[in-house]
């Protein structure tokens, strides 16, 4: 049985811009009972998330505040084969100034240094992004471990993580080997993620489950629990490349596991939905679910990130509408 000494045992503080610092998950020994006992009913999960948008809503000033908060949680992302240095720099500029200055002022947020949660790129562009974001508080996240399929040799995965950390990435978004989940090889999954965590050092580990490949909520929930036991700082839904990306039922399954893990270990684990969240309305529903299932703490970027590329543009339009009362257009806001 692997034990928790394999992962860094020192909890230490994360950067935190809002509340008290959050103790970092140390991981723990793999507890097979915690995996075996997981039950999750799809229909019941769907009913919960289906009724939520009718149970919770925010209007006017509250809505503007929630959308501003969402901006601070966005991992502004570019993960395309045609990415270039200049493209990444442009995105970094947007991360620093996600909202038009006049709107920031009208919303009363001038001087607060509003920025996105992170920039998320492939390893090749980590150094570029770190340089472009120099002087800001914005961390760079690198997708890693043979993203998106995660089928390169294990030792190369560890080398890729180490290289990104060396280049200055503060967050590593790894992909798990889906085969381990599909064949119920929880020990292999645990061992893999534990190694990734060790390779990260001080960088935070986000484990991408690729929920679209795992198919069932049971698989998702069990994989979530194993990844947390292995030392994940965040659990993340998707690469954005699977057929189905983040959904509310999958989110619910993962949030319940985060809650259970906290109950059992005291560690708060972050959550990152990715892919398919492209409207202000969408992101509010995710925020409602975070608040309802996990509580206020999980609305801040140290415990909540949203992997998205086009979401910000819609939030900008909605905030302009809040300020001016007129419906806006995409071309009135700078692209990233």
């Amino acid at each position: 049985m692997p034990n928790s000494s394999a992962v860094p045992a020192q909890p230490h503080a994360r950067d935190h811009n809002h509340t008290h610092p959050i103790a970092r998950n140390t991981g723990r020994a793999l507890e097979m009972d915690w995996v075996d006992e997981i039950r999750i009913n799809l229909s019941a999960a769907e009913r919960r998330v289906a009724s939520l948008p009718g149970r919770r809503t925010v209007k006017k000033d509250a809505q503007a505040a929630w959308l501003l908060k969402a901006i601070t949680c966005i991992d502004l992302t570019t993960l395309n084969g045609d990415d270039t240095t200049e493209r990444v720099k442009r995105l970094c500029a947007k991360a620093r100034a996600p909202l038009r200055t006049d709107l920031v002022e009208a919303l009363g947020f001038a001087g607060r240094g509003l920025h996105t949660g992170a920039i998320c790129v492939y390893h090749r562009f980590v150094a570029t992004a770190v340089e472009a974001l120099d002087g800001s508080d914005i961390p760079v996240a690198a997708v890693s471990t043979g993203f998106p399929a995660g089928l390169i040799p294990h030792d190369l995965k560890l080398k890729e993580i180490e290289a990104s950390v060396r280049d200055g990435a503060q967050e590593i978004d790894i992909v798990i080997t889906r085969e381990h989940v599909l064949t119920r090889d929880w020990r292999a999954l645990y061992a893999e993620v534990r190694d990734f965590r060790a390779a990260c050092g001080d960088a935070h580990l986000k484990t991408i489950l690729a929920t679209g490949d795992l198919k069932t909520l049971r698989n998702v929930a069990k994989a979530s629990m194993v990844c947390m036991m292995a030392g994940a700082d965040f659990i993340k839904t998707s690469t954005g490349k699977e057929g189905v990306n983040a959904t509310l039922p999958v989110t619910l399954a993962m949030l319940r596991m985060i809650r259970l893990y906290e109950e059992r270990t005291g560690f708060k684990i972050g959550f990152k939905p990715a892919g398919g969240i492209s409207t202000a309305k969408d992101v509010l529903n995710y925020q409602f679910l975070m608040k309802e299932e996990l509580g206020r703490d999980w609305l801040e970027p140290d415990l909540f990130r949203i992997g998205a590329s086009s979401l910000l543009a819609d939030i900008e339009r909605q905030l302009e509408h809040h300020v001016t009362g007129r419906y806006s257009a995409f071309n009135r806001h700078a692209v990233g």
Partner: protein, 795 residues
């Protein structure tokens, strides 16, 4: 509150739904309404009005008319005049009207949703997302039945004028549940909404008229319980359909007894919510939210008794209490709340008092910590932990946002606790093991069972209770049938009174060898037994010849027979194939003794040998028919709009008392007993008082045909007196009385003790040789109750 403030707190803030349109509508009517009769508003005859309040604020909202006898009479008259032309319009014509009503509702959806929320106090989320769309779904679904009626219900006709009385918890939805099947089937309606919540019914009637519904087809008479009573008692009404409390349901049963009005009752409940240790606990916790904190718990089928398997009880308690922390109670028009206001101060007081009693009796109370408005009728979501089956709050329907919790050890114990109630409306079963969930569902005595779900409703799925939760179904094919009557029963005539039998003539055999005395006994629990009182009565031929003695059964014999029938529960679980075989075997053994039975019938009734033989042959054939039906009168699979199915299972009602008519002493007995046992019921039969010996001879056939002990019990004696004992026995689930009008009236009136289902003939004779009138689904329908098991699936 600034943006910066919300950014810091991440609170939700107010999100009010606008109520302008609804207020405009009220203003247009000067907030004072008459009844809606013959397509227009009419002032109440008495000139009296009641004030309806807004529960969230306690402020007066509108004045509604107090219906008096003249108002009810006018409305029933309007419905009566409209009924024939409405029926004559044909299925397609009515389908168009129902379709138009559905569209009308959808067109004005928000107006209805807002008005309902204001008038009732329930959250706009529920009226907008549930009540109104589901009401429209009912109208659309039943437009379909109207369209198909002539083909699918060719041997039925509409019942006539229907009086419908609906409750305040789902005012518009219950209106739709009631009127949609009634109108589709060709009936016309007088609807009496609850006095707390009449406004959406009035709005609906007004807009229905605008949408072209002919005058008199739908009439609305408002008022309090007295108005409802007037409608129930009005002789021009052919059927009463009621949803409300069990207490009022009983009164309606009593007051309609013997009137010939048909009746459906959808009453209270104390529905179990069972969580096994292999359930999705978080999913089940959300289920509790939907079960008891939906509509402030003012739901007849609310999962109000939480039964938790011991191993997970503590985990469940913690997670439920944690979940309660995030529930929000607030003004009904706020779009970010989970619960609104309780309907009226009187209900609030009742909830408070019952919770207090629960705590006094030892329950631990947990309440959602969130703020509730200080004005208006609000009560927080409440959990009573550590409640025992004997606690008041475990027995009484609270009809508020209060769930009581207790534990069980094994699946058997869960079923036992779940069924330990006088009610039987709904149940919810949570387990991730399909074998367990599908084993438990049929064992629960409830009309609706949700597997890993709760409070799911649809127009295609029948809804209604077992036991004291009422009878009849709403929704599905089974629901439509409640608004139709068989053509074959229309022409029935009052049974001719038989001439009294002459005095006994005693003819001894002198010193010849006498025949061996054969005294008919009672047949109870598979044994021939002497009557408790040890009296017997002579059975005479029409000419007064002494044919033998039959036991004089009394109350205790009925008691013993019911106990025997109750303990023969295994019959209900016997396979249909097994029951079919036994019915065929009965036919075989009756056939073997056909001559003897024909002689007996001839001796008792004086019919010709050919006629007597024909009765035996018809009886044999009837047994064959029910042998055939035993494994073919199946339920259906409904297709509600979800990923899953609803299984409408035909389940036996249980222990059924049967009082048999005097005509056709064998065929009448067989015609009533056979459909009941074919479906798995156990029977306590009282044979013809005048000609009991064919039935008592039959117990020898029962004995030789592998019929398990207690499945058929026969108690001879004074028929109507014994029928009365059956009616008063609270462990009899249904009672069939075929005989005099008086016996029918008594049976219906006395059935209220446990609200047993009754099938009576009101003294109208059936031709037992006419198969259309006396064999098959026409009776099988009354031999079963439909249980709908909802099974959502997916992984």
């Amino acid at each position: 509150m600034s943006i910066a403030h919300y950014y810091e707190t991440m609170d939700y803030g107010p999100a009010p739904e606008a109520d302008g349109e609804a207020r405009v509508w009220l203003k247009r009517h000067e907030a004072t309404f008459g009844h809606f009769v013959s397509g227009k508003f009419v002032a109440p005859a008495s000139g009296k009005h009641l004030t309806t309040i807004e529960p969230a604020t306690g402020k007066a909202l509108a004045k509604i008319a107090q219906g008096a006898a003249a108002d009810v009479e006018a409305a029933v008259g309007a419905a009566r005049s409209a009924q024939a032309p409405w029926a004559k319009l044909g299925g397609h014509g009515r389908a168009r009207h129902l379709y138009a009503l559905a569209r009308m509702l959808q067109r004005h959806a928000r107006l209805f949703a807002v008005l309902e929320a204001i008038d009732n106090g329930k959250p706009i989320r529920e009226t907008r997302d549930l009540d109104v769309p589901l009401a429209a779904r009912h109208l659309l679904y039943h437009a379909g039945w109207a369209q198909l009626q002539e083909r699918e219900f060719a041997d039925h006709v509409p019942v006539g004028v229907i009086g419908q009385i609906i409750p305040w918890n789902f005012p518009l939805l219950m209106l739709a549940w009631k009127i949609a099947p009634a109108l589709a089937a060709g009936n016309t309606v007088v609807l009496k909404p609850a006095e707390f919540t009449s406004l959406t019914a009035l709005l609906f009637a007004e807009l229905a008229a605008e949408a072209g519904l002919p005058p008199g087809v739908l009439n609305v008479v408002t008022g309090d319980g007295a108005t409802g009573a007037l409608l129930v008692e009005n002789p021009g009404v052919d059927k009463i359909a009621f949803t409300g409390s069990t207490e009022v349901g009983r009164l309606i049963r009593q007051s309609t007894a013997g009137s010939g009005k048909s009746l459906t009752l959808e009453l209270g409940g104390k529905s179990p919510f069972i969580v096994f240790d292999d359930a999705d606990i978080d999913g089940a916790v959300e289920g509790v939210v939907d079960a008891i904190w939906f509509n402030q718990g003012q739901v007849c089928c609310a999962g109000s008794r939480l039964l938790l398997q011991e191993g997970i009880a503590e985990t469940f308690r913690k997670r439920l209490i944690r979940r309660m922390e995030t529930l929000r109670v607030g003004p009904p028009l706020d779009k970010a709340i989970d619960m609104g206001a309780v309907v009226a101060p009187v209900q609030l007081e009742r909830i408070k008092a019952l919770v207090e009693t629960g705590v006094k009796e030892g329950a631990e109370k947990y309440q959602a910590p969130g703020a509730i408005p200080s004005e208006g009728c609000f009560y927080p979501p409440t959990l009573l932990w550590n409640v025992h089956p004997s606690s008041t709050v475990a027995i009484e329907e609270i009809f508020g946002p209060v769930v009581v919790a207790m534990t069980f050890r094994t699946p058997d114990e869960a079923v036992m606790l779940a069924n330990n109630t006088r009610y039987g409306l709904a149940a919810s079963v949570w387990s991730e093991t399909i074998g367990l969930a599908l084993d438990i569902a049929p064992k629960l005595l409830a009309g609706v069972v949700w597997v890993n779900a709760t409070n799911l409703f649809d127009a295609s799925v029948g809804f209604g209770g077992y036991r004291e939760s009422g009878f009849g179904r709403e929704g599905g094919r089974e629901g439509l049938a409640e608004y139709l009557k068989p053509k074959a029963w229309i022409g029935r005539k009052a049974r001719a009174k038989l001439p009294p039998l002459p005095e006994t003539s005693t003819e001894g055999v002198g010193f010849g060898t006498p025949s061996i005395d054969r005294t008919a006994k009672l047949f109870v629990g598979g044994k021939q037994v002497r009557p408790d009182g040890n009296y017997s009565r002579s059975v005479l031929s029409p000419k007064g010849k002494h044919l033998g003695e039959a036991g004089e059964g009394n109350r205790k014999d009925i008691r013993n027979a019911v106990a025997a029938a109750r303990s023969a529960e295994a019959w209900a679980r016997a396979t249909a194939h097994n029951r079919a075989q036994i019915l065929y075997y009965l036919a075989e053994n009756l056939s073997a003794r056909g001559d003897e039975f024909a002689r007996r019938i001839g001796d008792m009734t004086g019919v010709s040998p050919a006629k007597a033989r024909a009765e035996v042959e018809a009886s044999i054939e009837r047994l064959f028919s029910y042998g055939a039906w035993a494994d073919k009168y199946e339920g259906t699979i409904h297709a509600p709009p979800l990923r899953g199915v609803a299984l409408a299972m035909h389940e036996p009602i249980g222990v059924v008392g049967v009082a048999c008519p005097d005509e056709a002493p064998l065929l009448g007995f067989i015609s009533l007993v056979a459909p009941l046992i074919a479906m798995g019921n156990r029977v306590v039969a009282v044979p013809s008082e005048r000609h009991p010996l064919a039935a008592t001879d039959f117990y020898q056939v029962l004995e030789t045909s592998d019929v398990p002990a207690g499945v058929v019990n026969i108690v001879t004696g004074e028929r109507d007196a014994l029928a009365r004992v059956l009616a008063e026995h609270d462990d009899i689930d249904a009672l069939w009385v075929f005989g005099s009008q008086e016996a029918s009236t008594v049976a219906e009136r006395l059935s209220v003790g446990n609200l047993k289902r009754t099938l009576v003939d009101h003294g109208l004779a059936l031709d037992w040789y006419d198969r259309a009138a006396s064999e098959g689904p026409i009776l099988l329908r009354h031999a079963v109750q439909v249980k709908n098991i909802w099974i959502p699936y997916g992984d």
